[in-house]
Symmetry: C2
Subunit: 207 residues, 2 copies
């Protein structure tokens, strides 16, 4: 039987690179339409350019059950109106898969929402680990003035369901600026709670 | 349905601590009897005290399939005769489970052996990731003059089979000092290759 060769990668924090990895993607502001509350501010920022909001590099050895994917994400600092730059956010398509985030530099938050709409917020700085348990929708937020860089790992068969957030009109709360350097969570007026059948469908994806 | 709360931990590199974790264990020299080639040097070192060779702190959210365990290991620098300090080493009891090691400080090696006795060596320094694929026996080696500190993650249902190494008379190679600051791999005279039935039993643990 042929087995896979060990892999050595190097994490380059400032550049947000995983040298030796297998993949990379970027999300620009134009990829994040509909996520932010202030549509006028979104349009104005887009008109002045289309910045990279975040980039991910990873190593996907296989997509098989029992394997793991790891990588690095670098988020730019910035806001759309009062709202801090965020990732699209997702729940795992196999919703009982966890994820581990590890702060490398910058100041961020993990914004988490349970299927029935409970919000949790975990502050992430250098050397902070955030364990995202099974069944939590999660989105990263850069609340600092510098890049937010995190490494991460998750089970290779997790998959991502991004649409769960859009279907609910967003996450239940948004993270906005509070004074010059602070943040606060405010309710998202567009949020529509999931009904019992939708919540049940999330739990039914467990494997 | 009740779901697990998110967890925030802090990694303390110099101390080798995972603040907010759930477990800790230490291995002293006396726990590593039979691993090193030079029994006289082992006895002499033990007589002069019983040093902690390595300590591990981790967070085990659950032991369920699809979950992940993460933590930190700190290995002391040192040698038993010419042979550098090593961990016991293991293969996963469910052998198709991988492991990710991430160098935090110090200079180390991951010594890997396939079931049929192929050796691979991955050098690990700060910001190096070593991906240990399914089916590799693996052991960490501190080849530096300082503590070797690594963080790690692996599937929660992996389990550890430590005895596979002892049954073969050790790993196929040992890592010994080569000059003042170098290292080299030498064959382990006590090594007994696994026969085809033993190799088959390893692959049969896959889940």
């Amino acid at each position: 039987m042929t087995i896979m060769e060990p892999v050595r990668c190097t994490v380059e924090i400032e550049e947000g690179r995983l040298a030796g990895g297998t993949g990379r993607y970027e999300k620009r502001l134009s990829d994040l339409h509909g996520i932010y509350a202030d549509e006028a501010a979104f349009a104005a920022l887009l008109a002045s350019g289309d910045p990279v909001v975040y980039a991910v590099e990873d190593l996907k050895p296989t997509l098989g059950a029992g394997d793991m994917i790891f990588g690095i994400t670098r988020m730019a600092p910035g806001r759309v109106g009062e709202e801090y730059f965020v990732t699209r956010g997702h729940i795992h398509a196999v919703a009982n898969r966890p994820e581990i985030y590890y702060g490398e530099s910058g100041a961020g938050l993990m914004l988490l929402e349970s299927p029935d709409g409970e919000i949790r917020i975990v502050e992430i700085g250098p050397k902070t680990v955030c364990y995202v348990p099974p069944y939590w929708i999660h989105r990263s937020v850069n609340v600092g003035a510098e890049d937010l860089v995190m490494t991460f790992a998750y089970p290779a068969d997790s998959g991502q369901d991004y649409d769960i957030i859009a279907r609910a009109g967003g996450m239940r709360q948004r993270i906005v600026a509070d004074g010059a350097t602070g943040w606060r969570a405010v309710d998202n007026a567009a949020y529509r709670p999931r009904d019992a059948a939708e919540v049940e469908r999330v739990f039914a994806t467990a494997a």
